[in-house]
Symmetry: C2
Subunit: 217 residues, 2 copies
């Protein structure tokens, strides 16, 4: 059996390993708001259980089994988020903390039935892909941050980089929902803000926002 703590570590290592396959003690500590020494301790335990490849001072990667576990936790997290938004009418900025708890509920049968109940969704409310029961993520869509677009480009909002509540509420407020089509009317060189055209209305967003919005291409 796995403890909640172990699951949190595996998930964090998975997320941090996305770009560049190895991650470091300090990065994990930062992600979990813990001290580096605590992380070292846990990495040894996870290595004993063959869920990570860990070499002192050299960073850590997930084993095949560790990755599978991480993917199943992410699957649970995203399915529960979907449930909360589509069935219980939560807003997309309200669901993270609750899903953070629900993702640790231990029942494969439960999660598969939830998946079926929701109609086997492929994406969660934030546009993130949901792994299937085998841990496969089949996201054929390619995306880039809005900040990579040039004047005159257009695209559809399909996700966010940073899913914190404040940012999501801002997006709601400005009408920047998933699926919204945007057109880059202008980029202002002095602060790299973007003037967008959305449904024939204009809206200017900061550089910060442009880096957090994912656009399909």
């Amino acid at each position: 059996m796995r403890s909640r703590s172990e699951e949190d570590y595996l998930k964090a290592i998975y997320s941090l390993s996305i770009k560049g396959s190895s991650t470091s003690t300090n990065e994990i500590a930062k992600a979990l708001t813990m001290k580096a020494s605590s992380v070292t301790d846990m990495l040894k335990k996870l290595a004993d259980k063959k869920w990570v490849n860990y070499i002192k001072y050299k960073g850590v990667t997930l084993t095949k089994e560790g990755k599978q576990i991480a993917l199943q936790i992410i699957r649970k997290h995203r399915l529960w988020e979907t449930f909360l938004v589509t069935n219980l009418n939560f807003k997309w900025d309200e669901v993270h903390d609750i899903a953070e708890q629900l993702e640790h509920i231990d029942s494969i049968e439960l999660i598969n039935r939830l998946d079926k109940h929701l109609g086997f969704p492929k994406f969660d409310p934030h546009g993130d892909p949901i792994p299937d029961k085998n841990g496969k993520i089949q996201d054929l869509r390619k995306s880039q941050p809005l900040s990579d677009l040039k004047k005159g480009d257009k695209g559809i909002i399909i996700g966010v980089v940073d899913g914190t509540s404040i940012f999501l509420r801002y997006l709601d407020n400005e009408g920047l929902n998933l699926g919204t089509e945007i057109y880059v009317e202008e980029i202002f060189d002095f602060d790299f803000s973007y003037k967008l055209k959305i449904n024939n209305k204009f809206l200017t967003v900061s550089e910060r926002v442009s880096k957090n919005l994912l656009i399909q291409f």
Copy 2:
């Protein structure tokens, strides 16, 4: 904040206090499959938090606050069981262990929305009443075990005393569902088994079963 362990204790004390307002260290230990010494430790902690009235060697009762907490956990447990059966098509004998986990999810908003989503049910799949958001149980139905009925009596099955899987599966098998109307055709003195008439068919159940089936009166 409350730990999972603390919640388990409060729930156990609540259940054991139903008949006779005080319960004992040993009873709690048995209910939670723990050692009496562990229970003593925890009772002190719960008393410090003012959730129980505890006097050494004299047994324990819940305070008003402790009782409210216990009722909220039971509310969560029963609402989740209802969700699992009515929305995810679990059988009534499959939901207990999962609900045992879900009952500890900490979000009042979540549980109130779940309640609404389910249409504010008053009873769970086992016929047990669901406390409302204020902890009120308004179960106006009176029930007695089948074993209290006499020859010629009739009534409706509205609950079970012991909700273990094996017993529930037996009931399913024999067609003894909640809401089923039964008529006591005969009681056999030699083993106190009950011959019932259900939808014009006859079925004999053991004394054990007769003590576990609750009949409305």
